[in-house]
């Protein structure tokens, strides 16, 4: 096997799988799930060879002859999201065997999932902006199609539309940035563009930075374009785990990390990024603390954690953001899949109808707890190290205000992680449904992911070394050093305070219920997501009614009026001219005489 072609195979195998699934469905529809898992396995295996390729030269193909050559760029930054997509994708496919067993139209599901995995790989490994954008959009299409998978449900269909439209707003920002770089540098190649982009004048650099930020804000569900992610929970939970936790939503963060060299040349926008990240982190954790739909809580939590990653990029901690991306993908996928198991058994998403499930679903409960602790950032779990790194970077760069906001968010994160676990798995049982543990095909991936949450931070050694090897700046540390550094950093103190406080709030939450009575307005606002949806709904309504008005007044009256007026005008002209045809002989003779006189006059003068 030609080792140089490994990234190509990595891309092509799931792509081919996606194309074959509909055909296979025609002949042997029962084989589709297993086939998809097989494709996922092959992809995962190929993925093992990928880290060895980091830094290797690769080939390119001409996509648009004469205009565009595209190929693969293999550095740690690009390999990590690709591998996350591959491996977590594989685990999700195994999980889907159990979770989606009783659904129909499975070929559409598996085909789109495989296509999605291929596009995430394609996007992160792309060495030029056009390919990146191409796969970025394909991911958006897959997301739209999969959110609306249960298309008969109007909520799902509308959620898919909302997701596509909102990310589309971000996408045009990305496209504008890419095309502006192209206009100035004449190339779509990422490495060349970043190198030569530094020569672009500042006003245009600001525009480019804005474009990239807009793209990231849309795709990674940051303020103010975060509204699509909670609604996207109408998708099957496996999709929520894969797309809306582990992979697609990370694309925005990946983008910011990738173009950081350009962003750092537009410092005012870096501050904006910090604030977007911090505020989103706070907003997400706030909303997660007070909602009752299990998947929605996890969605808000994802928004919040993505905010941390964005904040990290904003303060210059690019490695920290990617490290947290890695950790978050693992534990959030874990949380979602556990949630999936619970929802699958209980047929409800409302946590007020759950409780005391630990006894019946021990594996799910334990793994969920591990995930929640990782989310909270409890020491020794992977979330702790990566989140701590982010806070440390913020401290070092002197961005105090965002740091405070982020810490507040961490506080709430600690609270809601514990709260959610408690309400779902501990305490009194509030449902009367017969509950049993999920099948092995579902608990298997859960266990793997839980293990990952416990130890993935140890990979920091190889990660940093390959990071440096491929020319991205970061300190080289291995896991021992990481342990030492983290526990001796200032950020560790913040983390400890936050966790302790969060735990206390959780423990005494019943006695704190008087807070709700004091400020009911605040809680009402939280219940509707602080009004963003309402605002966007109002905005769409305005656009509709303006278009309607434009049609009924302008198009139907003015434009058609012009047409009809032209017609009526011609008819009027004709009618008035007809009066000359009197049919009276004397009139005709008069015209002749007048003509005669006129001609005589013209001749004689």
């Amino acid at each position: 096997m030609n080792l140089q072609a490994i990234p190509l195979y990595l891309l092509l195998v799931p792509l081919a799988g996606a194309a074959i699934v509909p055909l296979l469905n025609f002949f042997a529809s029962r084989a589709v799930p297993l086939f998809s898992v097989l494709v996922g396995l092959v992809t995962a295996v190929i993925g093992f060879f990928l880290p060895g390729e980091i830094g290797a030269k690769t080939f390119s193909i001409e996509w648009l002859p004469g205009l565009l050559k595209t190929g693969f760029q293999l550095d740690t930054l690009s390999v990590v999201p690709a591998l996350i997509a591959t491996w977590i994708g594989f685990l999700t496919l195994i999980y889907s065997l159990g979770y989606m067993k009783h659904e129909e139209n499975l070929s559409r599901y598996y085909s789109l999932t495989l296509l999605f995995i291929a596009s995430m790989i394609g996007m992160s490994l792309a060495d030029n902006f056009l390919t990146l954008f191409f796969f970025w959009e394909v991911m958006g299409v897959c997301s739209y199609a999969l959110i609306g998978f249960f298309y008969k449900d109007p909520k799902a269909a509308s959620a898919g539309v909302k997701a596509f439209l909102t990310t589309r707003i971000g996408d045009i920002g990305l496209l504008a940035a890419i095309l502006t770089i192209y206009a100035f540098t004449g190339t779509f190649s990422i490495s060349q563009g970043l190198a030569e982009g530094s020569k672009i004048a500042l006003p245009f650099l600001n525009f480019i930075a804005f474009g990239f930020i807009l793209g990231a804000v849309g795709k990674s569900a940051q303020l103010p374009l975060h509204v699509w992610l909670p609604d996207a929970m109408e998708a099957p939970t496996t999709i929520s785990a894969l797309i809306h936790a582990a992979t697609m939503v990370n694309a925005g963060v990946y983008l910011l990390a990738r173009v950081y060299p350009l962003l750092s040349l537009a410092p005012s926008w870096l501050v904006v990024i910090q604030w977007i990240g911090a505020l989103t982190a706070l907003l997400g954790s706030l909303l997660a603390s007070f909602h009752n739909d299990l998947k929605r809580i996890l969605a808000y939590s994802t928004i919040s954690q993505l905010g941390y990653m964005v904040l990290a990029v904003g303060v210059g901690g690019v490695f920290a953001s990617q490290f947290h991306l890695f950790s978050h993908a693992i534990f959030k996928a874990l949380l979602f899949l556990c949630a999936g198991a619970v929802i699958h058994e209980l047929k409800t998403r409302d946590i007020r109808e759950m409780g005391g499930l630990w006894k019946f679903m021990p594996v799910t409960g334990t793994t969920f707890l591990i995930g929640a602790l990782a989310l909270m950032g409890l020491p020794v779990l992977n979330g702790f190290f990566s989140k701590d790194m982010i806070l440390e970077e913020a401290l070092l760069s002197g961005s105090w205000a965002p740091l405070v906001v982020a810490s507040l968010a961490a506080l709430l994160t600690a609270y809601y992680s514990l709260r959610t676990t408690a309400v779902v798995f501990w305490g009194k049982r509030r449902t009367s449904a017969h509950v049993k543990e999920a099948p092995a095909v579902m608990t298997g991936p859960l266990t793997v992911l839980a293990l990952g949450s416990l130890v993935s931070w140890a990979l920091v050694g190889p990660l940093t070394s390959s990071w440096i090897r491929t020319g991205l700046g970061a300190p080289q540390i291995n896991w021992l050093e990481l342990l030492k550094e983290t526990f001796s950093s200032t950020a560790f103190l913040i983390t400890v305070c936050v966790i302790v406080l969060g735990f206390l709030i959780f423990y005494y939450r019943r006695s704190l219920s008087w807070v709700k009575e004091k400020i009911p307005g605040f809680f009402k606002a939280v219940a509707v997501g602080l009004g963003f949806d309402i605002f966007y709904g109002w905005l769409s309504q305005q656009i509709y009614s303006t278009s309607g008005f434009l049609n009924s007044f302008f198009e139907e009256r003015v434009m058609e009026g012009i047409n009809k007026a032209t017609g009526k005008g011609s008819v009027a002209l004709s009618t008035s001219s007809r009066k000359m045809q009197t049919g009276d002989l004397h009139w005709n003779l008069l015209y002749i005489v007048i003509a005669l006189i006129v001609i005589l006059g013209l001749i004689l003068w």
């Binding site: 045809q581 049919g583 004397h586 003779l589 008069l590």
Partner: protein, 97 residues
């Protein structure tokens, strides 16, 4: 002596008849007057320019044409009279647009 006033008078009388008379025969007479006025103008300008033989030929042709006009006119009048038994122009409204 100057014949132009005579020409002018003939033209004026002819136009007056054309425009104000309702009876078709009277319109014919007006048309004739116009023709005669044109012929007179022709002759007088010929005299002024002193090319009598050329003028003579043109005048003969003019008279011949005038005769043809009268013939066609009378034929039309006759056909109209057959159809509607009147010679009044007010009855000829069928070309009204």
């Amino acid at each position: 002596m100057n014949l132009w006033p005579f020409v002018f008078v003939l033209f004026a009388l002819g136009i007056f008849c054309l425009l104000t008379r309702r009876n078709l025969i009277k319109i014919l007479i007006g048309l004739e007057l116009l023709s005669k006025g044109a012929t007179l103008a022709l002759i007088w300008s010929g005299i002024l320019r002193n090319s009598l033989s050329y003028t003579q030929s043109l005048t003969v042709i003019a008279i011949a044409i005038e005769v043809m006009v009268v013939a066609v006119f009378l034929a039309l009048v006759y056909a109209f009279h057959e159809k509607s038994s009147s010679l009044d122009t007010d009855d000829m409204k069928r070309l009204k647009g």
